[in-house]
Structure formats: structure tokens, C-alpha cells
Amino acid sequence: MASIATLDRATRVRIAVVAALLAVLVFVLPPLLSLYWIDVFTASAIYAVVALGLNLLMGRVGLVSLGQIAILALGAWVAARLYAGTSIPFPIVLLIAGLITTALGTIVGLPALRVSGLYLALITLMLAGAITVVLTATNFPNGGHGFLGHTESATGSTAIRRPALAESDPGYFRYTVVVAALMFLLALWHIRSKPGRAWAAIRQSEPAALAAGVNITLYKLWALALASFMTGVAGGLLGPSVGKLYTFQFPTRDSIILLAVVLMGGIYSLWGALVAGAFMKLLPAILDSLNLPADLLTILFGVGVLQVLLTAPAGLAAQLPKDLARLWGALTRAGRRAPAEERAH
């Protein structure tokens, strides 16, 4: 690992930008926002982690999964059960939720890796449907008795607990941002090391990867396991943020919307996952606050995906800096021309 002093300029700038962004999110933003918007930002951060999992699968390895929201629901279920039924510390619950979804992702991945592309997408979509059916039957734990921990009575149910140091909404937002940042670091660490090099080779050419000695099955499974882990942790964050979980919060179609926003955000950069998280949760809230119908989103996302596929395959994360640079260039040119025109008149 290179020390800070030996890093090139671009890397140092990137580290500074990330540090500044984290500082703004953790210290500047919470006092400025109402509780409603803090909750929206918390949800965006959680879904950015979910998007990160799919971003890695698609952008790094070339695997398409349409089951991510179901894995999120499973993680949320496991965590909710543990929060309600045990006094296991909060971070350990997140870890357990992540490990259980990892196991599920790997078990599904084993047979699913024999197929790829559209077929893998279909298998994961079927899994998502199956998990939704099971969740509809069992409901989410809400402080009831027994293994399922669900009670129908409104008086018997309790809200899902939060960590002691993050009881308030701003506190929980900060907690979520820190966990999300750790997940992004985990992803970055993978990309920069042995698995990342294996994934890059697999995505471009499986024969070339094999010829270099890459165990393709192992590294594909590893990617599925990692994405499932992150999504499970995100699920563990979700319950405490909203207090109560319901099956309707995890519709199967959300997995398809997730695919759309991840594509729009950009799958070849981790920033794309942040953009995707904002698309998923921040944008609907903004539309809502402007009194625009939520159905507008479906149209926007449709147009957005089309635009990405046709003109900007690297997504907004790559397109935005380019567009901003172009806009800046146009503005400075216009700025130079305007005084010249004044003189001409």
C-alpha cells in the first residue's frame, strides 16, 4: 500500500473530495435539514449501498442481478428479528445480517453461475419473487413472540431499536453515512486488489482470465457474495431508520428500478452508486415536494436509461464532470466574447 506522500496528484485530489463530501454529509448537512429531509438522505445513503452491490456486479464482473431488493428485504428481516429478540450490539447485528445474505447469495450463485446474462437476471428475478411471497406470509418481526416475531396487534408491536449513540434522526443519519462509507471502502479495496484484477479480466475475456490462472467460478461467486453482504448490511440499516418494516416496502419491481438507476448513475465508477442512491430515494422526495406525480419518475427513468444506453454508456458519474467542464468552457468563452461585443457597439 502506497503512503499518502507517494500518491499522484489525481489520487490526492480524489481523497480530498471524498473527505470533504463526508464532512459535509456528517457535520454540515444534518443541522440544515428538517427531520423529513434527514430521513430522505438516510434512505438515499442506504440505497446507495444497495446500488453499490449491483454496480460492482454489473460494472466490474458483468453479472446482472434482478434480486437485490429481495436480498435487502432478507437482510432487513434478519436484522429486525435480532434487534427485537436479542440484545446483540448494533454493529454485530449488521454483520450477521450481511453474513446470512452472503450465504444466500452464494447458494443461489452456485447453480446460477452456469448461466449468464439474461438467464442469470431471470433466475435472480424469480428468487426475488419467491422471497417476496415468503415475506408476505411471514411479515416482518415487530416485537411479537415466536420465531417470526410478528404480532398483528398495534399495541403489542414495538419500533425497531437504534444504536445508543445514534437514537436521534440526525445521529442515525451520521451512523448510516459512516457504515455506507465503510462499504464503499470495502468495494474500493476489492477493486484495487487481486479480486478486482480478476474481475476486470473476467469481464473483458473469460479465456484471457483463465489463461492468466484466474479461477473464474470462485471470483464470480466472490462478487455475488460481496454484493449480497453489502445489501444485507444495508437491510440491517433500513429497519431502524423507518422504525417498522412492511412487505410492501420491498416490491419485486424495485429490483428493476434499481437496475435502471444503477445504469443511469454509471456502472464503471463507484460514484455511480451514490448517484443511483439519490435517484432511488432523493429524486422521488423532491418530485413529491414539488407536488409532481410520482409516476413521472417511471417516465424519467425510462428516458434516462435510453439516454445512457445511446449516448453515455458510462452513466451520469462519468457524464456529469464532462458536461460541467463543457459548460464551464462555454461560459468562459461567452464571458470573453461579451466584453468584446460591448466594445464593438
Partner: protein
């Protein structure tokens, strides 16, 4: 035909101990037989493997790499049964290859491309990796290219050389080069030829070179084997093989080839 003389399998090499023994290798795709009872030995140095398009050269490489399962036959390399190994394990054993269409990984840096083979085929310790990678880049003549630049930004010549560096990093034992000079101008082919010639002595590996550029093959290979329609039609010192009547006919496509078709 030239294969399976009374005195044992044709030898594409000199010296006593045969290092790579191919025995009766046969591949069938439905009704097509791209490799038909190929029997040959590659003993040392750089060995050429030539033949017209569709003769089975790449199929042979694909069998060695594990991408294609043969219908029959054995491959014994340095005493090990190569075909019994899982394909990704063959890289750990020391098998490397390049591809007809160059396969340097665009998204990775030059150094990461070579490091990929070094770490996944377990060619050395993590501590020696950077040194080994830079050594391999130097060896193929990319010493003056920034190792941290992405391969996607390089030209065709440099990408080819990155792929060759990936094939020689660490301790390769058998290096398969599939038309490495395809699409390169003459002076760059000359450089590539010098690199290929140095692989056996520097790395101690056997190189099998497939190419249509006969000047490259004669410059690099002491011995050459010739495939035509999946059958070995000649093997021996390169100069003799290239003058062999049967080989000339196979390349020029006169009666006998048309009959076989």
C-alpha cells in the same frame, strides 16, 4: 503421411529427453475433426507450428489451455498429465498463452495486467511481485512505458507486448504464442522476434509459436511442425520443413489438398 513413422513419433526438437509429448490428440466438433491423431514432441527452445487457415493450430492451443476437451489423446508436459488439470490450474503449473486477437485487459494498468498473471498463477511472493512485473515489462521492451497507465490508452504494438509480458512473468514452463505478429508492421515484428527468441534461455520455458509470417517462424524457431486438416504432415528442423514438398503443396493448395478437402 509424415506422421507416426516406424521409428516413433516425429520429433520437433533435438536432445534426449522429450519435454512436451503430444500423443494421438484428436478433437471432434460434430462431423468436423479439427485435430486428427496429432502426435508430436516438442523438446526445447522455440518450436514453430504452422499450417494453412483451419489446419487446427488454434484448436491445439485451446486443448492445451483447457478450453476444448479432446475426444482422445494425451499431453504429457515435463512428466505431468496436462489434460488432467483444471484449466485455471494449468497456469499455476506454468502454462501461458497469448491470443490471436490480442487480449490485454483494457481497464487495468500495464503493471496490473502482468500482476494479474503473477498473482493468480501463483508465480512468486507478494513481495517479489512488483519487481517480477517490472522485470517482465523490461524483458519484452516496455521498460520505457509508464507501468501505471491503462492498457486501453496504448497502441496495438504495446498491447501485444503487454500480453507477451503476461505470458512470461514468473516461471513459465510452456508458452503458447498464437499469431503474435498478426497486424504488426515489419520492424515491430523484428522486435517481437528478438523477444520470442530470448524466452527459452531467460525463462527456461518451451515456446510454441503459431504464425503465418514465415520469416518470423524461421527467425525464431529451430524446429517446426506443420498441421494440415488436423493432421501433422511434417516436423523437424525449420529449414527442412519449409522446403518439404508436402508442406509447400499444403500452403499453395495444389491437387492433394483439394482431394483431402
Amino acid at each position: 503421411m509424415g506422421r507416426a513413422d516406424a521409428g516413433g513419433p516425429p520429433r520437433a526438437g533435438r536432445g534426449a529427453g522429450a519435454l512436451i509429448e503430444i500423443e494421438d490428440l484428436t478433437v471432434r466438433f460434430g462431423g468436423v475433426t479439427p485435430l486428427d491423431g496429432m502426435t508430436v514432441r516438442f523438446e526445447s527452445g522455440t518450436c514453430g507450428l504452422i499450417g494453412p487457415n483451419g489446419a487446427g493450430k488454434t484448436t491445439f492451443f485451446n486443448v492445451l489451455s483447457g478450453f476444448v476437451a479432446p475426444a482422445a489423446g494425451r499431453v504429457i508436459a515435463f512428466g505431468d498429465d496436462l489434460l488432467a488439470m483444471a484449466h485455471f490450474r494449468r497456469a499455476r503449473w506454468g502454462l501461458r498463452r497469448t491470443f490471436q486477437t490480442e487480449q490485454a485487459i483494457e481497464e487495468l494498468s500495464v503493471a496490473a495486467n502482468v500482476a494479474l498473471a503473477h498473482e493468480h498463477s501463483r508465480q512468486g511472493s507478494r513481495a517479489s511481485r512488483r519487481e517480477d512485473v517490472l522485470g517482465a515489462l523490461e524483458f519484452v521492451g516496455l521498460g520505457d512505458v509508464d507501468p501505471d497507465v491503462k492498457v486501453g490508452t496504448l497502441g496495438a504494438r504495446e498491447r501485444r507486448l503487454v500480453e507477451v509480458a503476461r505470458a512470461v512473468v514468473g516461471k513459465p514452463r510452456l508458452v503458447l504464442l498464437d499469431e503474435p505478429a498478426a497486424g504488426l508492421p515489419d520492424e515491430e515484428t523484428d522486435h517481437l522476434g528478438r523477444v520470442i527468441r530470448r524466452i527459452p534461455e531467460h525463462m527456461g520455458a518451451i515456446v510454441i509459436l503459431v504464425d503465418h509470417d514465415m520469416s518470423l517462424v524461421s527467425a525464431c524457431c529451430e524446429v517446426t511442425a506443420v498441421l494440415d486438416f488436423g493432421k501433422l504432415i511434417a516436423a523437424g528442423p525449420t529449414g527442412d520443413v519449409l522446403r518439404d514438398e508436402q508442406v509447400v503443396r499444403a500452403y499453395l493448395g495444389t491437387e492433394e489438398v483439394e482431394e483431402a478437402a
